[in-house]
Symmetry: C2
Subunit: 337 residues, 2 copies
């Protein structure tokens, strides 16, 4: 009989996930930071970055591919903060980056955190949102194991290389933009593959660079970039910012974020933070509201992130989060006695 | 009889264009800076940012929509340099930004120039390329008079809001990425309209938000964003960076870059510069070459900007640039005795 879905409060879910990570070798702080991030992603409806990652992270902690005892270290030079994530999980390094950027940016006007020897960093939008909650505008890019070809080529070279951006609002949650540079998320192809369904044409190419509707052929091929050549060019830009400039592995050098084999992925993230104080005229806040009002004045529009905020509000109202039965099975396999 | 095309050396072309601007009220420095930029764009094959702009700029100088006597002023706070372009042409303000960023960035690791009360800034790639020639990585965004709708809407609100990025290379010209966030440049629709040709479906929408192949309907409608919803979200991000954060007019508040009527457009540009020194491991330069070699190892690929460099090399070899007859007519109308 299949395991039934389980419903937990947010705190219970965070505790369960943190215990699994600690049981597999993560320090208390690393386990806690990562558990908070995964549960938050699940609550925001970002299931590809939530409970579905728990067993895989735990297996990587156990095999030593992820350093459970990692202690990220920050080195500041002017407005640039380099962060060595110590081949641990990404979230503790990002916590440190957010802490540093929040301290440095009001003093310098703009600051950058360059994170290397890092891992899967989940939903980027959540990280820039935290900076926006501290009153800063923030832009983040990340690379990831290879999934997209350079334009004209057929072999995977770039990750789906996401971009996220957030700005504070006076009387509302921050505005958050969060997108990957593939036309659709690779997770959608993986889900279709599990279900045995074909995928729509235009999502992916096979290993020879031809359009395919077969999810298996797509997974051994490449994802199509959003906006075709323009998306591929932006993926190269993100690759250079997130990896070449941070001293991280490039996407085509990074091992999988999913399995427990091989060397650490060693990918990179770059976060830029901008002070929003001191903008001439009416100032940043009022001007932003003028712009957002002009968008919403048009029928059929909505602001980016609206669905995420709605899901979050629903989960917070009930203070509960459901773990699907098949993920409970996965998680319990990695849990202690 | 139509005016024949005219071929000039680069210096002759720059002198001719600068003289036209001075005759219509630009200071010698503003005229010179702008002439160099327009001729360089023409030589790079960016005809929408070259000689085709001369008569229009001159008319705006003459009517006072552009302040010919503008003196851009820089104010530094930490790693942020605010530049008031004084409602002049954009290029002198960008020259000042490049000068400031080149001085500040090696000291701070990252720096930003926020330009407001600015105008059309031509090919963004050329500006970031200059920073890359000085050894910096650079990212630039700009807003522009409204041409694209927010996703789900039908009325123009954002400009085609370009993004450019450049990095230095040890033994080659800088790598330059330069793209607008519309699927195709608006200039292509304007050209089709002049020729009386239809445009391909997918380029633009009419004023009701429906796909159109009629260039006139497209020009009173909106351009389709590259990558659909993702391009529209990136256009919003660029709008906030280039205008809300710099204190510039938003795209839907900006007057035309083409006609001589109304208030100055007052748009904005943001340039970020990154020091490439001090990256751990083999360092930025060697790591970049590793990445670019992996791209070029795949059949069918080429690096962004290859066409532009080829056109530039051809023009430099001949040291000549052709001005089409109809543009000579336009320019001579605005020239002095």
């Amino acid at each position: 009989m299949p395991t039934p879905d389980r419903t937990l409060t947010r705190r219970e879910a965070e505790r369960l996930v943190a215990e699994v990570f600690q049981h597999n070798g993560a320090s208390a702080q690393n386990a806690q930071s990562t558990a908070l991030a995964l549960v938050a992603a699940e609550i925001d409806g970002q299931k590809g970055h939530g409970f579905s990652r728990v067993a895989s992270y735990a297996a990587q902690l156990r095999s030593g591919k992820v350093n459970g005892a990692a202690r990220p270290v920050a080195t500041r030079r002017g407005s640039r903060v380099d962060i060595d994530a110590d081949n641990g999980l990404a979230f503790p390094a990002i916590d440190l980056a957010i802490c540093e950027l929040t301290a440095v940016t009001p003093e310098t006007g703009i600051a950058m955190a360059a994170i290397r020897r890092s891992h899967h960093c989940g939903q980027l939008g959540a990280h820039v949102e935290r900076l926006a909650e501290a009153g800063l505008a923030a832009l983040m890019v990340a690379n990831a194991p290879k999934a997209m070809a350079p334009w004209g080529g057929s072999q995977a070279l770039f990750g789906t290389n996401p971009i996220a951006f957030a700005v504070p609002r006076a009387d509302a949650a921050p505005l958050v933009i969060d997108l990957s540079l593939s036309r659709v998320a690779r997770g959608k192809v993986m889900a279709a593959s599990k279900r045995g369904d074909p995928i729509p044409k235009g999502w992916a190419l096979d290993a020879d660079g031809n359009p395919t509707t077969d999810p298996a052929a797509a997974l051994s091929g490449t994802m199509v970039p959003a906006g075709d050549a323009k998306g591929a060019a932006l993926a190269l830009m993100v690759e250079i910012l997130a990896a070449t400039l941070t001293g991280a592995n490039h996407s085509n050098e990074a091992t999988s974020f999913f399995d427990a084999e091989g060397a650490p992925p060693g990918v990179g993230q770059m976060i830029l933070a901008f002070d929003t104080a001191g903008v001439v005229g009416p100032g940043f806040g009022p001007r932003l509201e003028t712009l957002l009002s002009a968008i919403l004045a048009q029928e059929g529009t909505r602001l980016p992130g609206t669905t995420r905020l709605k899901k979050r509000a629903e989960a917070q109202k009930e203070d509960c989060v459901a773990i699907p039965g098949h993920l409970m099975d996965e998680i319990e396999t990695m849990a202690g006695p």
